[in-house]
């Protein structure tokens, strides 16, 4: 029993089959840095099917052997309490169809904090898998005065032990060599039998009850141990579905163990920590505790009552400023490039369906994907720097109290904050939240934050319909007040929505906020660059394709089924004229009128008119309905659509006087004005609350690994937007007029 049989396939392996190597370690040990440094740019990010756990794999070839590397999520313990946590255990035990049983497990540990890191190592050894231990951040540990006798530790553990400084690419060649050697060796370590014999006796008795799992495989010893140790754990839930008698049996078994002086669950932590301490005794020295170390001083400043909050506010302001304004020029360049390309196509292709598809569908679609990149890259640049230097955990520490008011934790603050600039990177940033319920609620309310794409809509409507009144001697303008109010609306609504979601769909025990506060260190350029690259690539390849497809579909809905031949003729005629030809002054209004009529007759336009009865209670006419329907894939499109509908052409801006004029002059058939203050307010409320962003919905799909949640987000936000706009118009038209 001490040595587990080596699985058949591993024993019979030949040189042709790639070796499989899994990486596991505590959070904040630089595990991903080691993984990235070893796998280079070959790694791919995906999801494990059915769960939200990120799956990062890479294929390398070292010393002539092909090796599949898989990076498992950072964890302190392999005692699964949820489906997500079960994934790592199943991968290590070879119980998943999509990942082969590892030939070797690489345990990454923080060299300056070995005792706690060895807890996880002891669980890996209990699985009976070949393993090696990598002590990362060796240089930092030495700086803190930690001394480890590596050879002695290796001898006591019975597995190879290596040291690395992955952020400086030190020690990696030795790790590669050790991996190749150990993975081909298949020498299974004898399991350290740490627990009392009574415990192993109960594990053995459990075999009679649970001989085989759902797939007819023998139940591994490690899972039987978990059944006994984890009261209400995930393994118990999984097996209890098939064997109803399991629950009462386990309760009795635990009772017997308690009587034998082996009380679960406390026994596991006590035994493993005892083992770790005994193992390190004589081969490793503790970090010298100096209360005045620079990390301690920095921590006191950054968590200080006043200075800490002020510095946090400053960092958040800087980040926000970067997303909001620094990304602007880059986005401008992407748009300019897009126009350049469109111009090139227009010079080659004659006006017609093909040109329209290429320019308004394909090029606009690609541009629509790339347009998000500057903000995504900037946000992840900030997050990667803050995370790598150890500040991210402090940000959660500082903001936790505030976020608990809505049932979330401090870890939700930064993703929600970044959603004020754009929900796409904001949703992607929720990966820092380990608790699945908290993460889902954060994802679902993130699109309510007032993003930068809502601004043009507000600017247009406020400029056109809100009187330019100022108060307090010109210091406060009504324009500014209304802009502030509509921009704050989303976050005000998000509070009850988050609370409601937490107390209905995502109800459950409050997840513990037991969080390590890692030591401060200088961020590594390599780590930061790799992370930013990873996120950017993940967005383009995984969400980008869906966003692009949406763009083409919307183009088709706005183009068909109208007959474009007359428009194409006028356009061709316009393009054949020399610049400055006076005939163009007659042709331009004709073209604009034609395209206005075509969009009104398109599928999109018909939809807008069909829903007119629905939007009438909001004070809107069908033109506004078409504009709003067209802006569901991307809210900023409403400006161009309104421009086209009011026969001004599609290239109007939110500060365009002619568009404002056309809207101010628009009337109902009976001569009443369409727009007034309540209508403008109702449109703005609608845009503040509605999920008019295909990109966000596609990113939610990718991040939650399910279509259910983007559909849910779309439905609840549209319903909120409609009700909000209805209330605004109905109340406004009674009280304001």
């Amino acid at each position: 029993m001490a040595v587990r049989p080596v699985p058949q396939d591993a024993a019979a392996s030949n040189a042709a089959r790639p070796l499989s190597v899994a990486f596991i370690g505590n959070p904040n040990t630089g595990k991903s840095t080691v993984f990235n440094a070893l796998s280079g740019l070959t790694s791919r990010i995906g999801n494990f099917p059915g769960v939200t756990v990120e799956k990062k794999v890479g294929r390398v070839k070292w010393e002539g052997r092909a090796i599949d590397l898989i990076d498992l999520p950072g964890t302190y313990s392999l005692a699964p309490r949820s489906l997500d946590e079960m994934v790592s255990v199943d991968v290590l035990l070879g119980r998943r169809d999509d990942v082969r049983r590892p030939d070797l497990v690489v345990c990454i540990a923080d060299a300056s904090n070995l005792e706690r890191n060895l807890y996880l190592v002891s669980q890996v050894l209990d699985m009976g898998l070949p393993a090696i231990l990598v002590l990362n951040m060796w240089d930092l540990a030495e700086q803190c005065g930690v001394r480890v006798d590596v050879a002695g530790l290796s001898q006591r553990l019975g597995i190879p032990v290596l040291t690395t400084e992955a952020h400086r690419r030190q020690g990696l060649d030795a790790v590669r060599h050790a991996i190749v050697t150990a993975a081909q060796n298949h020498s299974v370590n004898s399991r350290p039998r740490l627990f009392p014999e009574a415990f192993y006796g109960e594990c053995e008795r459990l075999t009679a009850l649970l001989e085989r799992d759902e797939d007819g495989q023998p139940v591994p010893l490690y899972l039987r141990e978990r059944l006994l140790l984890d009261v209400g754990g995930y393994v118990e839930k999984q097996f209890a579905r098939r064997a109803a008698e399991l629950g009462p049996y386990l309760a009795e078994a635990r009772q017997r163990l308690a009587e034998a002086g082996c009380k679960v669950p406390a026994i596991e932590a006590r035994i493993r920590y005892q083992w770790a301490r005994g193992l390190l005794d004589g081969v490793a020295t503790h970090a010298e505790r100096r209360a005045d170390s620079s990390s301690d001083k920095l921590d006191r400043l950054l968590t200080h009552r006043i200075a800490g909050l002020a510095i946090f506010g400053l960092i958040m302001f800087l980040m926000f400023q970067a997303l909001y304004t620094w990304a602007g020029p880059f986005m401008g360049w992407i748009e300019a490039l897009q126009e350049l390309l469109a111009g090139g196509v227009e010079a080659v292709l004659p006006p017609g369906a093909l040109r329209s598809l290429v320019v308004d569908g394909v090029i606009a679609g690609v541009g629509g994907v790339l347009l998000f990149l500057p903000q995504i890259l900037l946000l992840f640049l900030f997050i990667a720097v803050l995370e790598d230097c150890g500040y991210m955990a402090r940000a959660a520490f500082l903001m936790d109290k505030l976020m608990t008011r809505v049932g979330l934790s401090g870890k939700s603050f930064v993703p929600l904050m970044s959603s004020f600039a754009c929900a796409v990177p904001g949703v992607m940033a929720t990966r820092v939240i380990e608790n699945p319920r908290d993460r889902m609620v954060t994802i679902l309310v993130a699109p309510l934050m007032s993003c930068s794409a809502r601004l043009p809509v507000y600017v247009l409507l406020i400029g056109a319909f809100i009187p330019p009144v100022t108060y307090a001697g010109g210091w406060v303008s009504l324009h500014g007040l209304v802009l502030f109010a509509v921009s704050s609306l989303g976050v005000l609504v998000a509070v009850p929505v988050a609370w409601l979601l937490k107390s209905t769909l995502f109800r459950g025990e409050t997840p513990p906020f037991v969080m390590e506060l890692p030591s401060y260190k200088w961020p590594s350029l390599l780590v930061v660059a790799h992370r930013v690259y990873d996120r950017g690539r993940a967005f383009v390849t995984r969400a980008g394709t869906l966003i692009f497809a949406t763009s083409v579909v919307v183009w088709a809905a706005g183009y068909f089924p109208g007959d474009h031949s007359e428009l194409d003729r006028v356009q061709a005629q316009l393009e054949s004229l020399e610049p400055g030809d006076e005939r163009s002054s007659a042709l331009v209004p004709l073209r604009n009128e034609l395209s206005g009529r075509l969009i009104a007759d398109s599928f999109l336009g018909r939809l807008g008119r069909t829903i007119e009865p629905v939007v009438r209670p909001l004070g809107w006419d069908w033109k506004l309905g078409v504009g709003v329907v067209a802006s569901f894939p991307a809210r900023e499109v409403v400006i161009a659509t309104l421009g086209t509908i009011y026969s001004l052409g599609g290239d109007v801006s939110e500060q365009d006087e002619s568009l404002m004029g056309a809207m101010q002059a628009a009337t109902w058939p009976d001569g009443r004005k369409v727009y007034n203050v309540p209508v403008a307010l109702s449109v703005m409320v609608f845009f503040a609350l509605c999920a008019q962003c295909g990109a966000t919905l596609m990113v939610i799909k990718r991040e939650t690994n399910s279509w259910r949640w983007p559909v849910f987000t779309f439905c609840y936000m549209t319903a909120l937007a409609y009700l909000g706009a209805l209330l605004t118009y109905q109340v406004g038209s009674r009280w304001l007029l």
Binding site: A79, P265, R289, H304, K401, P512, M515
Partner: protein, 95 residues
């Protein structure tokens, strides 16, 4: 005077918990109460009987708090720290 203080203390504080330590105070863990996931998490992170902890302070908004245990820093909420029964030790001569 000393006697009176002791009886008052015994009345108000039948059990000293981690969240009641003052900044910089060192204590020995007496017990972790409960056997639910929270208690298990605390134990997995190394909070076990007889282990020494040092209170490093509270967050600016009053919750959570920061401690040092087994040579690393850990943050937990007051509600969670109330599960950890401690016995204050005389202040560390090294500090």
């Amino acid at each position: 005077m000393a006697e009176r203080k002791a009886t008052v203390n015994a009345k108000i504080e039948p059990m000293q918990t981690l969240d009641r330590l003052a900044e910089g105070q060192v204590a020995r863990i007496v017990a972790i109460h409960g056997d639910d996931p929270l208690a298990m998490r605390l134990m997995e992170m190394g909070l076990l009987d007889d282990e020494r902890v040092r209170m490093l302070g509270f967050a600016p908004l009053g919750d959570p708090l920061e401690i040092e245990i087994r040579g690393y820093r850990l943050s937990l909420r007051i509600r969670e720290a109330q599960r950890v029964e401690v016995e204050p030790l005389p202040s560390d001569p090294a500090a």
